[in-house]
Amino acid sequence: MWLPVLKAIATNLVVIISTFGFGTLLLRLLPDSFSRLTRSLCALIGGFGILGLLLFVVGYLSFMRWTIAVVLVAGVALAIRSRLHPFGVRVRPGIIPAGIVAFVLTITALSGLLEPVGDWNIDTVAYHLVGPKVWLRDGMVRPIPDNMNTSYPSTVEMVFASLYAFGGDRAPGLSATWTLAFFLAIAAAVGRRCGLDINGACWVAALIVTMPAVYHGSVGAFVDGIYAAFILAAIRVGLDATERKHFVAFGIFFGLAMATKYPALLALPAVVFCAAWRGENGKTLRQMIPTASLTVAVACIVASPIYLKNWIFLGSPLYPPPAWVTKLLHVKYFPAEASRAFYQYNIERGKGHGRGILHLFTLPFNLTYHTADFSGAGGIGLAPLAFAPFGVLASWREKFARRLALVAFLLLLLWFLTMQESRYLFHFYALSAVFAVLGWRYVLSVTGNRGRMLCATVVAISLGYGLFMIAKPQLAGLPAVFSARRAEQRRETHIPFVQSFDYLNHDPQFTKLLILDRSVLAYYSDKDYVKPFGQWGEQVFRDAATPAEILVRLNELHVSHVLDVQSTVSGFVVPTNYPGLVLEFERPGQRVYKVVGNR
């Protein structure tokens, strides 16, 4: 039981060191004014992205364990060669905020050691870990036609794959502990740059880590936390950029964000504008255009492998493509109707409370008190709404803080106008926490005892409510880390059709599975599989649109077994006594057939 845990921990340590090693390549590009801690942090965050991108590019040639090992060893060698040692940096954090952060990171580490489980509503097993598992099995990174989500920008998933390769299925979940720490630390570094002391920076981290909406999108092999860390690192570098090399570093960080999530494509112009607008040396916007163009060019080059891959293999740089693109381009595996339905779903999901001017003015209240309406269950705490306006007011004279406020506002506005999904706003939440702590200090400085009590109440509510919402579900799962019986119960409760997958994965004659139901997760199959119909309407075979049309082609598919289930979207689809199939295993709602001979 403890061997998988030790493997996961050891692999995570190696990947962290390798990550730092690749990040040292960026050090020369960072502004000299950066402290040693901020430089180390930028190296770790940038290195994470570089490692992922490198694995992505190498993976298209070969994605065996040895090729991944070579890449990781190269990173470790760079780390050893570096004279900068991030773990030698000493800071004295405030006890209360540091204790809160340590508590949340500890339960994150423990719950990260749990086996990934869930149905098709859980993105971890629906796609984040499907790509790594399939690519490792195939020894090559290629698009997975039945799962269009795996063709999203996948820099972070490539790091998950390296963790999976050597640390098993627990290692990607455990990595949330340090990726979340990166996110908190870069937010704290932005706070320091705005004038906060170490204690204030720690409070920034504590406020962010107790935002349930942020926490739940940053753990469990989700990519949103590290995406926000890329954006914050880009902002941190970009707003202090004065030389060409700084703008190159700015572009690299933004390119890594674009290689992680599509929303970065929208954020790029806004952040570059704010970085170019009134540079540190007082240049006008027109004079800054060449450096801004350099940033955009570098970002596009860095992210290009992801988008070129989609264009070459799937027919569109953005995959799944916007519905109107399907009229212009020949897009593979995703029919136009499915594309339209998918975008309609996203438009519905991302409309929040609306996009009118009144909705914009009420947005701070709705985001604070009704975050769940933006798919951000648990909320973001009270502190940003209560204090951040005063933080902006207090720090308005400081150029960096003023530009930071402008960046935050523009990013919020873009989000408001496009896709109002809480997960895409983590970097804004982090910036709001920075201004919240600035504002908290300011309010304390202008009010008396009553103000002090009110401030303490706000912070207590934010932390208390957030910790309760975070700890409740996480602690409930922890017994399964220490008890094999509880772990087995958890598997049986949370993995759909677990008996069939257990039967198949232990059958030596099982070589390739045909999955006919679109809601069945291929992640749980340890062997190769064919899934003709994907979750979002993906269609792997152009001339076979129904299960019946697939069944007549069984011989061509070279499958050894067929899984037929009764699910929320369909009943059994294999007719009784179907020629060439023998019912080998049956449980309520699930049947496994063995394919026998030529029909």
């Binding site: 004038g195 720090s395 400081e398 600035l438 009010t447 009110l454 401030c455």
Partner: protein, 69 residues
């Protein structure tokens, strides 16, 4: 952790305090009412939290229903 710029927030607050203490230059109306405004705003967010999250919660609604029956 060293910073290239000093903590300007602290400067801003110090200037504000100095200005407040100085009789030679009376504070503007906004600054005079800022402490009251800050307290009122913070109190408002707390009350709104209880209205939205506690009184508006399903648990409380269930409690009210059970009491009314």
């Amino acid at each position: 952790m060293s910073q290239r710029k000093p903590a300007q927030l602290v400067e801003t607050m110090a200037k504000f305090s100095q200005q407040k203490a100085s009789d030679s230059e009376p504070p503007s109306q906004f600054k005079r009412y800022l402490p009251v405004l800050a307290e009122a705003w913070v109190l408002f967010t707390i009350v709104a939290f209880f209205v939205a999250r506690v009184l508006g919660s399903n648990v409380f609604k269930h409690f009210l229903r059970s009491v009314s029956h």
